[in-house]
Amino acid sequence: MGFNVNIDIGGTFTDFFAIRDGGDVRIAKTPSTHYDLSVGFMKGMQELARAYGLPASAFLSQTEAVHYCTTVGTNALIERTGPKLGLITTAGFEDTVFIGRARSWADGGGAEANKDLSRIQKPIPLVSRDMVVGIRERIDCFGKVVCPLRREDVIEKLQVLVDRGAMGFVVCLLWSFANPGHERMVKAIIEEEYPEDYLGSMPVTLSSDVSPKAGEYTRFTTAIVNAYIHGIMGEQLGHLVNELRDGGYKRPLLLVHNTGGMKKASRTRAVLTHNAGPVAGLHGSLTDGARYGQQNVIFTDMGGTSFDIGVITGGRLSTYDFIPVIDRWRTNIPAIEVKSIGAGGGSIAWVNEFLGGSLEVGPRSAGSMPGPACYDKGGQDPTVTDADLVLGYLNPDNYLGGKMLLDPDLSAQVIEKKIAKPLGIDVDEAALRIRRIVDAKMGQEVFSEVVVKGLDPRRFVLYACGGAGPTHACGFAPYVGVKRVITSPFSPVFGAFGAYTLPVRQVWEKSKAMKIFRWADQAYSEDAEGFNAVVHELKDVALRDLRLEGFSEDQVEFRLELEMRYGMQYNLTKVVSPHLTVYGPTEFKDICDRFTEQYSATYSPEATFPRGGINIECFYLTASVKSRLHEPEALPLRGPSPPDAARAGSRKAHWAGLGGPSETPVFVFEALEPGNTLTGPALVEARDTTYVIQPGWRFTLDPYRNGILEPAWAAVRPEEEEKR
């Protein structure tokens, strides 16, 4: 009997999801220990062992896989605890990362902060200015050397960095993705000068290895971020692996990647671990949704400070065009997008005096410290959680399973002082308005995330995850337009659950510009060889890598995506290629047609312009190895009425449109049985969340113990729905 253990580290809690061969699931939550993440990690392992009734050593020795969404690298970036790096770049371009395409002050900054132009600041660089040297070399846009690299020049500049205390080197040269020759020569020189058996041997990171893509700023930052967190991650994960081994665990540690897969820690590029938890959560909703035959899923995760949004179409993770920003650094990693907006339980409500006393919620957050006023940790601003408490939705004595007591009087006081009085309304009305505004904002953001991809949210189901997801789902779902919301019993640890569902998967990428339909002569390309050469190169690297992971070629599934554009468009549209191999104009035409078809569906037929020429700019080859998951058993349905044991009395709660507080039934989630149906208003308390079932909504526990929320209007006839 083996265990599969999945860990997702969050800002406040570390989440655990474990499953035994037979499908026996246990979940756990421990406070994240940012001073040393392994402490919280191992504590969670002990909790799981206890939950299974085993000593920790027995549990670990029976554990067959550990999947880990780590934030070690991200923390190192935020806290600036990385090593002193030396950057070797093309002479004449030493300031490239400081210039940051000029607008780097806005990357990773909040929308509100970015509007205040008097106060903008660029982030403190990861490599200080005195640790940057320019070497004489230059490659042009065709990959041709126009200034040769000289060994003496490299050695001279290298010495400068060594003398200034470099602990590692990042080599970032212009056009290195088209011709990596010079970067490789620099690496060879460094390794010759400081061979591995020397104490002065230091890691060398090449931008053409980490990110072989066009656009020097993001290529350079991707390489720098990777180099910056590489050492710390290696060290901390090594420490963790040792602890696991000491505890009895014998298998490799698998790290979850933001590209929607996972690989052995030893074969992972550090930069691919950023934001892995939310991506794992997204994949969890994909897997769970597949049980219902759902191909189109919106994933949401509402926590204390942020609200994550991800989209799945066609039953697979799709990479949409977006720029992943890690901390304050714009990168070009092929990550899956899970957008995070500043809305959560900690979002602060305030009255905007200038705008006629309008009530606004966010973007400021009380975070977890001091947190909402009701936490009694000094919070002086009314938050969404305070509103939920005042409205009677949260049980002050049973928050997080009773682990944290809440003070509703403090909530009422701050809402009265800062919202109700200035607006001339009562506290309950103020709380209802706070909730409505935050729900609307979240719902509209979700709507926007879906439609901006050319998709219709009404054709999706929505997963409401995170500690506050089930609490607000009925509030924000109407703004999305979905008619079915799914809440998982694992909602509070959904990232960890998602990690369990992930396959071994990686994306290999390479920029290569190809004009496959030419503007000049309106003809399709015949350069099949050029296209196939890139695909073969990526395939070779992928297979070599996966063989080292222990997989054979027949286990691997490939998918080719191409970034394409009309003419001189700067931004690119990613499409799945209908061909892995091309033979000539016929296949190029198919690819162009696929591009135009997708473009037309996303942006309207009027927007297409095939006659302007069509280019491929970048190739992405995804290699996946299918994993076998335990299929959860469908439990028998017990009928719509909940058992008496599930009823936990009632309490007064306020509901919009019902006037005054109404006595609302309260249920215990763990005691509800599949098939039970509750009609709003009702409240369901689970160990780590509260389900708020608003009037007009129905909650049904299905055979997988997923709570299905459906609005009354979802039952109307399809033609009426279309009108709606």
């Binding site: 002479a91 000029a102 106060r119 660029k122 066009a214 009027e606």
Partner: protein
């Protein structure tokens, strides 16, 4: 000026403030609860944001690629209610073409407004700024009733003017300004008309970019149209119409409240420009802002006269548009941006002034007076807001442009004509408590960026020799301005290109400091024809310059014919291998340089961000040349000496004024100025 049939409409361009509220708008507002309004406002912002992002994604011009984009939602009367942009002048200028469409075509049987229509324009007389800015809007209907417009304005650049790239510095009348299209219907029944597209495409040097940009605006508009129809389906037209109007109303009220907090007074800030086309000459914008209660009055009496055969004129509304750049980005940064803000402003522009262009004059370089005026806004604004919020009384970002424009055939055999994105890498002005940001962007396009070298080289036939901070480009002060950029372009892969530059501030500083801070130094363009730089590069020569300071100082290694040009360089041919060195200005300084923390000066020395000369002679800092160790005592003594010399130079104001008034620039310097010293038309 009377309106000729088929001539320009001088009436509609006056309709800048919100139109009188209609009965329907008033009734709609009554039905909206506060919370519903907040939710509606957020939704409208999301729609505009999606429109902006979509436009940028799909466009092709340099302006589009790097974010010179605005996407707006207009009321059924044409007022701009919601906009997503960093180009804030569109917040008040984008409405004019929509009001024009309503006035001229709504009831015109041969045109009319119908579902599925789309309208295009680029005439700056309506767009307000210059012909390079082009717009497209579509009407949105609810069951046959017009409820609003949505549309995008983008700097496409190339418009077929006498010089390529959209900034014509040799135009002599508006007939040299290229395509100047008043609002026209370019599509109907959800289809763009091929005959019209062909006509527009045939007017410009790069038709593909022009058409891609038009399609990008249209695609974004269609998406926004769908979103709005969904809102209409949910909330109904009354709510929607009332909601848009309420956004305008609350903005106007909020702006008035904020203005009322400023100190009343008269703020004068004459502004000078040193270029008229490609000719060096001094002209003046005489800005006087009277602030009283909750409003401003802008008066420009005393500004230089209109130029009958030079491109430096601007329409008056272009100036007001640039006032919004300061307001929306700095002063009203926390308020919605729309033409409700103009409820706080009255204005007076003298007749026959180059900032109130009329008739057939060219406005090819209209952005020059507009940005020169904005510097006046920064300077007046800092003085006005200091008492209210000193942290936002800041020095100006660089205002003098300084970017090349080019045309020709690229390395792929494709026609091209455009500008470079480096004009979006200017330095930010210094702040009361910190230096300006180095290469912060462009103050008038704060969502734009300067792009990557590789992205430009990929389809433009140039090789960058270097692109680094230009350390001599900012204004000194207690806090220094952010550094600008220096770069060098070498035409490559093709036999040659034509290239010029637009900008001002080569003789007289474009951007001056605040509260004793230094101005941004003058900038210029250096070219070397028949340069051996490519050979030096091929040899890996250490003599190849790596930044603008090295290039401008020269080390004798580069051979060829070296020339220095004004920032506004006439378009001319350059051969493969010639070198063109270009600076982008930094930000202005704040406060007295003698008050700068000497440690900050040494830190700048260490980073190479200040020259040893400036450290000694401007900041008066003494340090060890080898170790850069600061000598505090000697620094203090040096600074005290400098202060004492200042006192010695001081004289009573009356005496100074008397001497000053005796001074007069040479006649050729002020030949376009008007009368001197008070300029007025002669």
């Amino acid at each position: 000026m009377s309106r000729l049939a088929y001539g320009r409409d001088y009436e509609v361009v006056q309709w800048l403030r919100p139109e009188p509220m209609t009965v329907e708008e008033a009734a709609g507002q009554q039905k909206i609860e506060d919370v519903d309004f907040e939710i509606f406002r957020h939704k409208m912002n999301m729609i505009a944001q999606e429109g902006k992002e979509t436009t940028m994604k799909l466009g092709a011009s340099t302006g589009m690629r790097w974010g010179d984009v605005a996407f707006a939602i207009y009321t059924a009367q044409g007022d701009l209610a919601v906009v997503a942009t960093g180009i804030w002048f569109h917040a008040v200028l984008g409405q004019i073409p929509v009001k024009y469409i309503l006035k001229h075509f709504a009831d015109e049987p041969s045109v009319r407004l119908k579902e599925g229509d789309s309208f295009f324009w680029n005439d700056p007389f309506y767009g307000g700024v210059h012909g390079a800015d082009m717009g497209l809007a579509v009407p949105v209907f609810d069951q046959g009733k017009l409820v609003c417009f949505v549309g995008a304005v983008v700097h496409t650049g190339e418009n077929g003017a006498t010089d390529p790239g959209g900034m014509s510095n040799t135009a002599r009348s508006r007939y040299d300004d290229g395509l100047l299209c008043p609002p026209i219907k370019v599509g109907e029944r959800y289809t763009l008309r091929e005959d019209i597209l062909t006509m527009i495409g045939s007017h410009v040097r790069d038709p593909r970019t022009m058409i891609l940009d038009i399609k990008a605006r249209l695609a974004a508009s269609r998406i926004a149209e769908r979103r709005i129809q969904e809102v209409l389906g949910d909330k109904g037209p009354e709510f929607f119409i009332g909601g848009l109007r309420r956004i305008l109303s609350v903005t106007a009220e909020a702006a008035k409240k904020k203005v009322a907090l400023l100190s009343d007074g008269v703020y004068r800030q004459p502004r000078f420009l040193d270029t008229v086309g490609t000719e060096s000459a001094l002209v003046k914008i005489n800005l006087t802002i009277t602030k009283k209660d909750d409003g401003f009055k802008f008066d420009f009496e005393g500004s230089s006269p209109m130029f009958p055969d030079k491109p430096l004129n601007t329409y008056f509304h272009g100036i007001l548009g640039l006032a919004m750049v300061y307001f929306c980005g700095w002063f009203f940064y926390d308020l919605p941006a729309n033409n409700g803000l103009l409820e706080t402003i009255e204005w007076h522009f003298p007749e026959d002034s180059f900032i109130n262009a009329k008739g057939e004059v060219s406005t090819g370089l209209a952005p020059f007076p507009q940005t020169a005026f904005t510097l006046g806004m920064f300077l007046c604004g800092a003085r006005m807001s200091y008492g209210l919020d000193p942290l936002r009384a800041v020095a100006a970002w660089y205002t003098g442009f300084g970017a090349p424009m080019f045309g020709g055939i690229n390395q792929w055999g494709e026609p091209m004509a455009d500008t470079f994105a480096e004009l979006n890498a200017t330095g930010c002005g210094a702040r009361p408590d910190m230096d300006g940001v180095d290469c912060a962007g462009s103050y008038f396009a704060t969502m734009s960026d300067c792009g990557d070298v590789e992205s430009t080289e990929e389809d433009r036939p140039f090789l960058y020799l270097f692109r680094n901070y230009f350390r001599g480009s900012y204004g000194h002060g207690k806090y220094r301005g952010g550094a600008g950029l220096g770069y060098c372009l070498i035409p490559s892969h093709v036999p040659g290109v034509v290239l010029g530059a637009f900008g001002y501030g080569s003789k007289f500083p474009a951007t001056v400091g605040i509260f004793g801070g230094y101005a941004v130094p003058p900038t210029f363009v250096q070219t070397v024809r028949g340069s051996n730089m490519k050979e030096l590069l091929a040899q890996g020569s250490p003599a190849v310059p790596v930044n603008a300071e090295q290039a401008f100082q020269g080390n004798g290694a580069e051979t060829g014919r070296r020339e220095f040009h004004h920032s506004s360089m006439r378009i001319q041919p350059f051969q493969n291998g010639d070198t063109v060195y270009l600076p982008v200005g930094g930000g202005a300084g704040y406060g007295d340089a003698l008050e700068r923390d000497p440690e900050a000066v040494v830190a700048d020395l260490r980073d190479g961000m200040v020259t040893p000369w400036a450290a000694r002679n401007i900041y008066r800092v003494v340090y060890d040349d080898e170790t850069l160790r600061l000598d505090r005592e000697k620094t203090q003594a040096l600074r005290e000496g400098a202060r004492a010399r200042r006192k010695q130079r001081g004289k009573p104001y009356g005496e100074f004024e008397k001497e000053w008034l005796k001074l007069r620039p040479r006649d050729e310097v002020i030949k376009y100025y008007g009368t001197y010293p008070v300029s007025r038309a002669t």
